[in-house]
Symmetry: C2
Subunit: 403 residues, 2 copies
């Protein structure tokens, strides 16, 4: 019951649902959805995998599996994460039904009503919804172009005793930034010895656009984090397909053991069927080739969007320059409301997600998120032109009011 | 946090985990697992489906879907449930990640710590674990061979104000019984006008062994239930494969709307990949043919087990005679403990699940569950012989003690 009350308020009040409906209208160009375009999925590759799969693996795919995950996938994933420097020998790995489930399980394990949770501002809608559902008090720490504002974090740490700090250091959703290596180190130093869980959501880790960007994607959990309780989550949603509903969680044995018991009561295990596919996709080298392809694709899409923004946006408007991932975060003049811009854009045929949707306090609205992952590439420029024109009209209206 | 404490006690104290480990030892005949044998899954049929699936459906399979479920599967399932007389026009349907998730969502929606939940005694372990996890006070109502003991239910309804009554009317897990049509009607009459949710878990509906048994599988929710708040759950685990992690929930719009919001925070949506498969499996007629096949298979397995019980068990022992499903429920003499029998059986090479595992109060242990769904058919008789011999030895020991 308590679970319910806040979730409703949060989700009902957001514009996500209506936007999603609009986003499926064929005449509207949608920069709203944070999912890959349907034509970008590795359909052929998975067809090949399934056609060559031996009978016993196919049969296993239909069966229940251990709550922790399909053992061959756990083994493959462990080696994959080991290469990223993650502490797979001292910590335990669990497959989850999407990485959102990992956040949900942690919420069940740790959050009592009224507990404080720190998040970035802005932050991932799904994460915010989970924390609000458990009636956490959310405190947003502002993001800068290289990561959290540590001065403000320090201040807030003196005021509150947060259970969790939730961050997305790589190719941030929605802010489109990446934490600098220096900021990562400083954040770790700041948290050492404190009674707080640092929850690192690394769903976009693989989606860098250059070698230089790749070098910056170093997970915090792979660094010297002695004295900090960390949980690391990842996802197959961006590197294979969200429809498989697979993510993972790496945590200390203490946190893991409770999490496994909780998961057992939630859905017993994640789908073996899609775990068998994901394992072969990684093990047989399909993933490496597929990642090469989609990194180029998203880099191109990001360039197309940056070019269009440069061409159409009035000079008052600023935006992030992503080094990877799906998103560009646009800043409007302080007195402009992105919902006003959205209303006009929708009429003209383009949608995005308003800024306050990503604000833990659901307030700040002179920002909005553009995603370039989902529409046809040739729609990017016309869509940005529509939004730019809506912004120009809003600027004009404000000037008229001021006169 | 509160979620955690009780679950641990429940699951840790049960023998399920150790049994599961034993069950995978190749030299042990396991009657423990409530899952289909790997060789019984429709692997070929699903291969055919995937090979003939058009590209756009394959792409959709990789994508996020609505929280409520993949719309074509919802439509197919709606017609399937309509044929069973279920109120699909006044109620709303949701696809869940296994039917366990449906129970878990209802727990989140309705159960506050200390709330009373009525279950059958014995009942499904997974259901019991969910209710205990939400710190419900469980009250077990004894099962008879034709369904709940209504006299005791009536008494308990005078003593308590339960939020939920959870029942498995068809081919009960673990008791192996089916509710008579008369008992169903009487139960409905007894609950009319009361402020209680009747939760009908119908995971085994399709697994009848005869036309006569089929006639008895009429869901309570398809009967005249005006004045009762009902929720109906079903599962693809027994009619396609548990590895797909798909179940469903049919509920009033009020209960459904909250459940959908809760599910959105748990895992966003169930796997589209397996929903696309399940839809084609039903829509293209594969399911009907597959059900014909597995009904015959389980009927044969049940006969083999009944024959072996008849041949090997001492006369003090009674057991249920299933008309469908996976299970036979064995009753030992009142002063015998099924854990003692299990210990001896394990040494000799056969395992089952002890009775108290299914008791909401985790006490009554002169029963145990045999499942005939998972082992090789030719292991049934030798396995039963082992268990019968362990029982005989226990009877002998008791006689010796009494002398």
């Amino acid at each position: 019951m308590p679970y319910f009350s806040n979730t409703v308020n949060h989700i009902r009040s957001s514009e996500i649902r209506d936007l999603m409906k609009l986003a499926t209208r064929p005449d509207v160009i949608s920069f709203a959805g944070g999912m890959p375009n349907n034509h970008l999925f590795p359909v052929k590759e998975v067809d090949e995998i399934l056609q060559n799969l031996p009978l016993d693996k196919k049969e296993t795919a239909f069966q229940y599996g251990p709550t922790s995950g399909y053992p061959p996938l756990l083994a493959t994933l462990k080696e994959y994460l080991r290469k990223k420097g993650l502490p797979v020998d001292t910590h335990k790995l669990m497959i989850t039904t999407g990485s959102l489930q990992a956040i949900n399980i942690l919420g069940m394990e740790f959050i009592d009503p009224g507990d404080v949770v720190f998040t970035e501002n802005p932050s991932f809608i799904g994460g915010l919804a989970v924390f609000k559902a458990f009636q956490a008090e959310l405190v947003g720490i502002p993001l800068q172009s290289d990561g959290l504002n540590l001065d403000i974090l320090k201040e807030k740490l003196e005021q509150y005793n947060p259970k969790i700090l939730y961050i997305i250091p790589n190719f941030h959703n929605p802010a489109g930034i990446i934490y600098s290596i220096e900021k990562r180190k400083k954040l770790i130093d700041l948290l050492k010895g404190r009674d707080i869980i640092l929850l690192e959501d690394d769903a976009y880790n693989e989606l860098y656009f250059s070698k230089e960007a790749q070098a910056e994607t170093k997970p915090l959990m792979s660094m010297d984090t002695k004295g900090i309780e960390m949980v690391y989550t990842g996802s197959f949603s961006k590197i294979l397909g969200p429809g498989l509903r697979l993510g993972w969680m790496l945590a200390s044995p203490e946190i893991y053991d409770k999490a496994e018991i909780i998961k057992q009561g939630i859905d017993a295990c994640s789908p073996n069927y899609t775990q068998v596919i994901a394992n072969e996709f990684m093990r047989q080298g399909y993933m490496d080739r597929y990642l090469d392809k989609i990194r180029k694709e998203y880099a191109e899409r990001s360039r197309l969007m940056l070019d269009a923004l440069q061409e159409y946006m009035p000079e008052e408007i600023k935006w992030s320059h992503p080094k990877g991932g799906f998103y560009i975060w646009v800043e409007l003049p302080e007195d402009m409301d992105s919902t006003d811009v959205l209303k006009e854009s929708i009429e003209k045929g383009a949608v995005f997600v308003t800024g306050k949707t990503f604000d833990p306090e659901n307030k700040q609205n002179n920002f909005f998120r553009l995603s370039y992952s989902n529409m046809d590439k040739n729609q990017i420029a016309p869509g940005i032109e529509i939004i730019a024109s809506a912004i120009k009209n809003n600027i004009q209206k404000q000037k008229t009011v001021l006169q």
